[in-house]
């Protein structure tokens, strides 16, 4: 520091020379040496010898001087700390007193802050648990998942075949280990006194090693568990252990019966464990090598997912290139099976977070905007309070309080308010999260636990403190600028607002309007999008339809005929129930069809580059289309002639017909489905209306329907149409099923319309929340506008009195007030326009059927804001025009 240029020293007011403590110590030592030398001279010593003797008696002056300075520095530091603390205590005391002196203001401020901070705490709680908290695996950031991407664009995150999985494991150079698992748990029956449908997931035993998960009880699966067809072991998840097996600690080593097969429990998985394939109750050991024996199951059909743990030093990008290269090799080696897909690699968290990231970030941004508005609003309110308290500050300054001390006092007051608001906000957020937990568990990744943990609480506390400083700083600095003498002397004008303070308040109001417009525009766009989503027809009529999943025990219904007979009998009896107008079954519910098959049109040229196009696939019974109200466009629906011995038939959707038979000759045409180019040709016997399988997309994906008689399954969704309330049918349905066979369980009985609306919950929630935030912002901004005009009008009351006395009309006075405020409102709207562009880009990924700059949404937003602002300014403007010159000028 000693060699800083002089200019810099002056600019930063750095002390020249040594600090005062050392100077004082030097002076003290000098004084002592002089006195001692003088004493010795008096006793007859020569002056020079006397000084030397004085030094000798003192000891090492440098050493002692350093020691003394050190002691002094410690003393000064300690007293400064004590003083700071006592100041803080005084500030807090004073702040609390001044808060209690104006209880209404304090209450309003705390409520406003609670809303602003609570909204942020709640949203942050969700964001943290979904996007930030650790996945239930060891070192989860090093885990990735490999997907098959269908080149025709129908599926970016598709499953892989056993052959592909094996080749990835053998050829990769990026992973410590990889493990395969079924992408979807399967329904099975846990036998017992009351048979239960449970979810069973197949996974390679090494999956638990790759994920770094240890058993809570017993052990995880071992490689030899999967060998051969003799060792039947099973892993139980914590939830299944608790709910299905009664939490019995002796379960390890015991047996359970699933689908007629007795299996030994190897261990219980830890609480909170969720597999990368989704929620499941039981894990079976999977041996991929068994699948390789059969050519079709080896490469032709894909139902596996792969996770891998990156080697130290390997990045996700590196692994992505490695895996993509393997994918390209496989496409060359197996053009028939792998020619239509590429391999993509994504971090496991991204794969599990799914579609919730963007809505959550949008919500977080909205909550942040609300907090900004809260800050601007409170800053404005505190500003007027500071103005009315100017006298108090002037007196305190006259009594010796420094300006810095005053600023600190005001900041302490606002921080106190903010912390009180933060505490109330946490209570609000807890309530809000409890509500979200009930409402939306389906729409969030299943590993997310919505709660305010210490991290979220800390975030809230810091947020509250920053908020307090943010909204307290502006008024505190303006209080510092005020002129003590003038304020104390000049009583009559103490209510007048200074010009900079007025401008500051204008800027604050403009900022609130701008933020409010941005937020409302975002909410408006989402509302419009949701409306478009829910109003457009899905292509079928879900009203009045009950859907029930029925699963046949495999050991009791072994042959396809037995299975088919059971469902035919069940449906026949259901048709006899009162009120029932239609009964059908399907392999998957509409909007939830998962299976896609490769399509080869016979007679059409092979697809370019051997890239097979895919179409959705469902097996349906004869009455499916009639029961769901899906219109038949041409040809016929299925009938008894489409039995297992009849010629294989297929019904396709309109968009399917348009896409594959552009000349309109689909009916009667033939096609092949699946990986085998020599499979039996299917004849198109009917064309039906489109059904939008993904309700969040405007266009309908091509669908193929096969007759249930030719694609017999043990697990089916029964669809029963009734003239009354579909849920009233659940009990009669159960009665019919039990009468037929009491060992057959049913599950997921629900109204089809409720199922559809559940599917939209994930879309609806951000819209509802953002609208709530928008309403809050509107309210806050309106209060801000009101406060600005009220203060402006009050400040110029005398002037208005004089003007009225001199002959101004009310209209002229009103115009005067409006003109002053309108400038800021206009500035706010202009700022809002800029904000809208940013917000529109942010939400564009969530929009459906609406353009980001949708004129209707933006127009309504603008009108709403302007209308609210007009209402807010009406009262103060009216009051200004009612000024009575006699009272104001007295």
């Amino acid at each position: 520091m000693a060699d800083l240029p002089h200019g810099i020293r002056r600019a930063f007011r750095l002390a020249l020379g040594r600090p005062p403590i050392e100077q004082e110590v030097d002076a003290e030592i000098d004084f002592h040496l002089e006195m001692r030398a003088a004493e010795l001279v008096e006793r007859g010593m020569a002056p020079e010898a006397a000084l030397a003797e004085a030094r000798r008696r003192f000891g090492d002056t440098h050493e002692w001087g350093m020691a003394m300075s050190e002691v002094d520095r410690e003393r000064v530091a300690r007293s400064e700390r004590a003083e700071w603390l006592s100041d803080l205590r005084q500030d807090l005391h004073f702040g609390a007193r001044s808060a209690l002196r104006s209880p209404l203001f304090t209450l309003l401020a705390v409520v406003t802050l609670a809303l602003g901070i609570g909204a942020n705490a709640a949203v942050f709680g969700v964001v943290k648990s979904v996007l930030l908290d650790a996945l239930p695996y060891a070192d989860a950031d090093r885990l990735v998942r490999v997907y098959g991407r269908f080149l025709d664009g129908s599926n970016d995150r598709g499953p892989l075949s056993a052959g592909t999985v094996t080749d990835i494991a053998a050829r990769q150079r990026s992973f410590v280990g990889t493990a395969a698992f079924a992408t979807l748990p399967r329904e099975s029956i846990l036998e017992g006194d009351e048979p239960r449908v449970v979810q069973v997931e197949w996974a390679e035993p090494k999956l638990f090693r790759v994920l770094g998960v240890k058993a809570a009880l017993g052990r995880t699966l071992r490689d030899d568990d999967a060998v051969g067809d003799t060792a039947f072991t099973v892993m139980v998840t914590y939830a299944a252990w608790q709910q299905l097996l009664g939490g019995d600690p002796g379960v390890v080593g015991g047996t359970i019966d699933i689908n007629g097969i007795t299996r030994t429990v190897a261990g219980v998985l830890p609480r909170g464990f969720v597999g990368p394939g989704g929620d499941a109750d039981f894990y079976y050991p999977l041996d991929v090598r068994l699948l390789l024996r059969d050519p079709i199951s080896a490469r032709g059909s894909g139902w596996l997912g792969v996770v891998g743990r990156l080697k130290p030093g390997v990045t996700v990008d590196g692994a992505r290139r490695d895996v993509a290269a393997i994918g390209a090799d496989l496409a060359r080696e197996y053009p028939r099976d792998n020619g239509s897909i590429t391999l993509s690699t994504v971090p496991l968290r991204d794969s599990m977070v799914g579609d919730t990231r963007t809505p959550l970030l949008v919500l977080m941004a909205s909550a942040g905007l609300v907090l900004l508005i809260t800050c601007a609003n409170l800053a404005g309110a505190l500003l007027s309070r500071t103005i009315s308290r100017r006298k108090e500050f002037a007196v305190r300054m006259a009594l010796g309080a420094g300006r810095g001390r005053l600023v600190r006092q005001l900041l302490t007051e606002s921080a106190l308010l903010a912390i009180a608001g933060g505490v109330a906000g946490i209570a609000l957020a807890e309530g809000g999260l409890a509500m979200l937990r009930r409402l939306a568990s389906r729409a969030l990744p299943s590993y997310a636990e919505l709660s305010l943990d210490p991290g979220a609480l800390l975030f809230t506390f810091v947020l509250a403190l920053c908020t307090g400083i943010a909204f307290g700083l502006v008024p505190a600095l303006s209080a510092r600028r005020s002129n003590t003498q003038a304020t104390l002397r000049d009583e009559s004008r103490s209510a007048t607002e200074s010009r900079p303070s007025r401008r500051l308040r204008g800027v604050l109001v403009a900022a609130q309007i701008a933020l409010c417009v941005s937020l409302l525009a975002g909410a408006g766009l989402l509302i419009r999008s949701l409306a478009a989503l829910t109003s457009a027809s899905l292509g079928f009529n879900a009203g009045g339809v009950l859907s029930v999943n029925v699963q046949l025990p495999a050991d009791r219904y072994r042959s396809l005929e037995e299975q088919e007979n059971f469902f035919e009998q069940l449906e026949e009896r259901l048709r006899g129930l009162p009120g029932v107008t239609g009964v059908a079954d399907a392999t998957a519910l509409p909007t939830a069809v998962m299976q896609r098959n490769g399509i080869r049109v016979i007679g059409a040229p092979p697809p370019p580059d051997n890239v097979l196009p895919f179409a959705l696939y469902a097996g349906v019974s004869d009455d499916y289309f009639r029961t769901l109200g899906i219109p038949l466009r041409s040809g016929r629906t299925f009938g008894p002639q489409d039995g297992p011995d009849g010629p294989p038939t297929i019904i396709i959707s309109e968009s399917m017909a348009r896409r594959f038979w552009p000349k309109g000759d689909a009916l009667g045409a033939q096609m092949r489905m699946g990986p085998d180019p020599n499979s039996t040709p299917l004849t198109v016997v009917g064309i039906v209306g489109d059904v939008r399988n993904d309700p969040t997309r405007p266009d309908a994906e091509p669908i193929t329907y096969a007759p249930a008689r030719q694609d017999v399954r043990q697990s089916r969704f029964l669809l029963v149409r009734t003239s009354g309330d579909p849920l009233a049918l659940v009990r009669p349905f159960r009665g019919v099923l039990t009468a037929l066979d009491p060992s057959v369980p049913m599950r997921d009985a629900m109204a089809l319309s409720a199922f559809l609306s559940d599917g939209l919950t994930g879309r609806r929630r951000p819209v509802v929340l953002m609208s709530a935030f928008g309403a809050l912002a509107l309210l806050l901004a309106s209060v801000g506008v009101y406060a600005m005009f009220a203060a402006m009008a009050a400040a110029r009351e005398r002037e208005f009195g004089i003007r009225v006395a001199l002959g101004s009309t009310r209209r002229e006075i009103a115009a005067l007030v409006l003109r002053q405020g309108a400038v800021w409102m206009l500035a706010g709207l202009v700022g809002g326009a800029a904000g809208v562009v940013v917000v529109a880009r942010l939400v564009s990924g969530l929009l459906y059927g609406v353009r980001p700059l949708d004129p209707v949404a933006l127009g309504i937003t603008l009108l709403t804001v302007v209308a609210c602002a007009l209402v807010a300014l009406l009262v103060p403007v009216r009051r200004a025009t009612r000024v009575d010159p006699i009272t104001t000028l007295r």
């Binding site: 004082e24 004084f31 002592h32 006195m35 003192f58 000891g59 002056t61 002692w64 002094d72 003393r75």
Partner: protein, 105 residues
């Protein structure tokens, strides 16, 4: 004679019982009161003064000396007076005990 540990602090406190003094005056008083028997560097004495100030037993203030020079004056605080009383009692008991023991022939 070398100084026993803690002795210097008591002597410094004692030196200030008659009112504010600067460091040199304290040094002179100790020399006079102990008839020059104690060997102590003046620096150690000043160090003791600053330590006692940090403890809160003395306070210091700059003033003007008899010779019209700026000097740092030390004053005993209330806590310092209590400390001196306590230390004096301890020292007296200690010295008496040692003295009594050494006298038994």
């Amino acid at each position: 004679m070398d100084l026993l540990k803690g002795t210097l602090d008591v002597l410094v406190l004692k030196a200030l019982t008659w009112g504010p003094r600067h460091g040199y005056a304290v040094a002179r008083w100790i020399e006079d009161a102990t008839t020059g028997q104690l060997q102590v560097e003046d620096g150690a004495l000043y160090h003791a003064l600053h330590r006692l100030e940090k403890q809160g037993w003395v306070e210091s203030e700059w003033g003007v000396s008899e010779a019209n020079r700026r000097a740092r004056y030390y004053t005993l605080t209330r806590a310092g007076r209590r400390q001196l009383a306590a230390k004096t009692a301890t020292w007296t008991r200690y010295a008496e005990a040692v003295f009594a023991a050494l006298r038994t022939a």
